[in-house]
Amino acid sequence: MLKFLLLAFRNVFRNRRRTVMTLLMVGGGVAGLLLVGGFFAFMFRGLRESTIRNGLGHIQIFNAEHFRRDEVHVLDAGISDWQRVAANVRSAEHVRGVAPRIEFYGMLSNGVKSSVFMGSAVDPEAERAMSFSPRLASGRDLAESASGEIEALVGTGVARSMSVKVGDGLTILAVTADGALNGIDVQVVGIVNTGFKDLDDRYLRITLPSAQRLLQSDRVTNLVVGLDKTENTDAVAAAFTPRLRGLSQEMTMKKWIDLAAYYKQVRTLFSGIFLFLGIIVFFMVLMASVNTLLMAMMERTREIGTMLAMGTPRPWIVALFMLEATITGILGAVVGLVGGNLIGVALNASGLHLPPPPGLSVEMAFRVLHVPALMIVASVMVVVSLALASILPAVRASRLQIAEALAHV
């Protein structure tokens, strides 16, 4: 019914000023959702990548016992034959590198004051190969094979509370794998800003051999695998499964999403906020459109009466109004998509930064991602909203008494 579609299309532009206002309202809703959603998507992506690059990696491999029971002593559920495991997974496609890690804890002392630390022992070269470099506030990263002094990186909070700077010494105390207390002296070569204040207040990083010496063990806690792209995580994890069979210890692996509790919390929170915004926009468009469409119906009462008098089936009148609303919704969505994306491009080009959010200590860049799925959802949402809004005016129009409608002034 090309003519019917033509009639609906022309009716949309019958009152141009009102149509422009409606399109701006609908388009504004879509653009708003694109901007907010695009910013959230950027935030999620940034948080995801920073979480991964801060050391989480894309996949972590553990001794299966690690998740079955609490360790009595440090590393008693660690990976013993970790070089072989690392070699098995390193050859898989998309793997950029494999880094052994030891997670431990203990006490730090500057001779005057002591403090608890959360330690991470790494192979600096393997970490750097995967771009897992710590964010240094001052100093330098750990050297691969330290000779002489044992090198350490500490968080900004640790440096402040222990009153140490690059070049100063600290003593680390920890319980060994046998349950004995052991200590080593380290030299601070760098101060790290992880971006998370709570972590900065406890952060300590030393080399893997130093930690093994401190803990009196040649085991590691886990192997951290870095990939070329985060999107390949699932495929690589599937490829790892056969490579982790038939080893002296039963192995298990965790993908980054399983370990990124903070990321998941943030994402859930902001997804909820976005859903709430979406509902508000949906009902805003719905209510405003009902009003506009009712006005349009009232103005066209005599015309509808004429159409009914000429034998137009009443369902056609309903369809005509719904079609007009749907066309308005589609045009509004197009306006919103174009407007939202252009504003997004402009904002991205402006280099805008936001102040550090709670729990973070660095400014956050303001960027808007262009997310196709979001564009589709926002567009469909406003079109559905307009179509729903047209039901009441459409049904009212179709139920007009012809004689009364023809006498309408």
């Binding site: 015309e303 034998g311 137009t312």
Partner: protein
């Protein structure tokens, strides 16, 4: 008086409208028969029931009492969709204020009743061209109503009313919004279509210019038929025949 061969039979029809605390009788037990090919005027002062009668004949209103038959079909027994189909196929409407669809061109307005009937594109084009030619508006086919004069708009409305070849064309005060020249031209056009195409025209008016061209005039007063020239002629003929014999 019911005539089985009549196109329209209005049988003892009354129409009352309820107001807040009272009721107004617009038509009071009215009976009327309209033949095929007639050119009938319903006249009378404002409030006499002209428009109400046209609305009832056009099936866009229902009588309080009585019944109306079109081509022998009792319209009061039809469902809403059957009534709609009857209007679509059998009746053409011409309104005082033209009532054209403003976003359609003249040709598209004329095409609309055919569109509603589901007639094919080629046939629609042919009939629209023919209807516009009948009303002398072929050259204005692609103009929208706001670019046409009042007389031209009403001619488009007539083309729209005749394009689907209805059995009956109802026109409610068709010349009320036209100047004398346009009104006269319109009356002549309708009369011409009545004669050449055999179309049945029924219209309401109190315009004397129109009455002069009308062979049959039904005068209404207070919802009743005050006079009907066809019965007067018939009775005069009977008197004449009796006196001759």
């Amino acid at each position: 008086m019911k005539r089985t061969d009549a196109l329209v039979n209005v049988e003892e029809v009354s129409r009352r409208f309820a107001l807040d605390h009272s009721a107004v009788t617009a038509l009071d037990c009215l009976t009327l028969a309209i033949d095929r090919g007639e050119f009938l005027t319903i006249s009378g002062p404002s409030g006499s029931g002209k428009s109400t009668l046209l609305n009832l004949i056009g099936c866009i209103d229902k009588p309080t009492n009585g019944r109306i038959l079109i081509e022998g079909v009792d319209t009061s027994r039809l469902s809403a969709s059957q009534t709609s189909a009857l209007r679509r196929e059998k009746i053409g409407f011409v309104f005082q204020t033209f009532n054209l669809i403003p976003v359609f061109t003249a040709a598209e307005n004329v095409e609309y009743p055919l569109l509603v009937q589901g007639i094919s594109n080629a046939e629609r084009r042919r009939r629209v061209a023919e209807a516009l030619e009948n009303v002398g508006l072929s050259a204005r086919a692609n103009h929208r109503p706001d670019l046409l004069s009042g007389g031209e708009r009403q001619r488009v409305a007539i083309a729209r009313a005749i394009v689907h070849r209805p059995a009956l064309i109802l026109a409610d005060e068709p010349t009320a919004n036209l100047d004398t020249r346009n009104a006269t031209q319109l009356i002549e056009l309708m009369r011409d279509l009545n004669r050449t195409l055999g179309l049945t025209f029924v219209f309401s008016t109190h315009d004397q210019r129109l009455l002069e061209h009308t062979p049959r005039i039904v005068r209404l007063t207070d919802g009743r038929i005050e006079s009907d020239t066809s019965t007067e002629i018939a009775s005069h003929a009977q008197v004449f025949a009796a006196s001759v014999s």
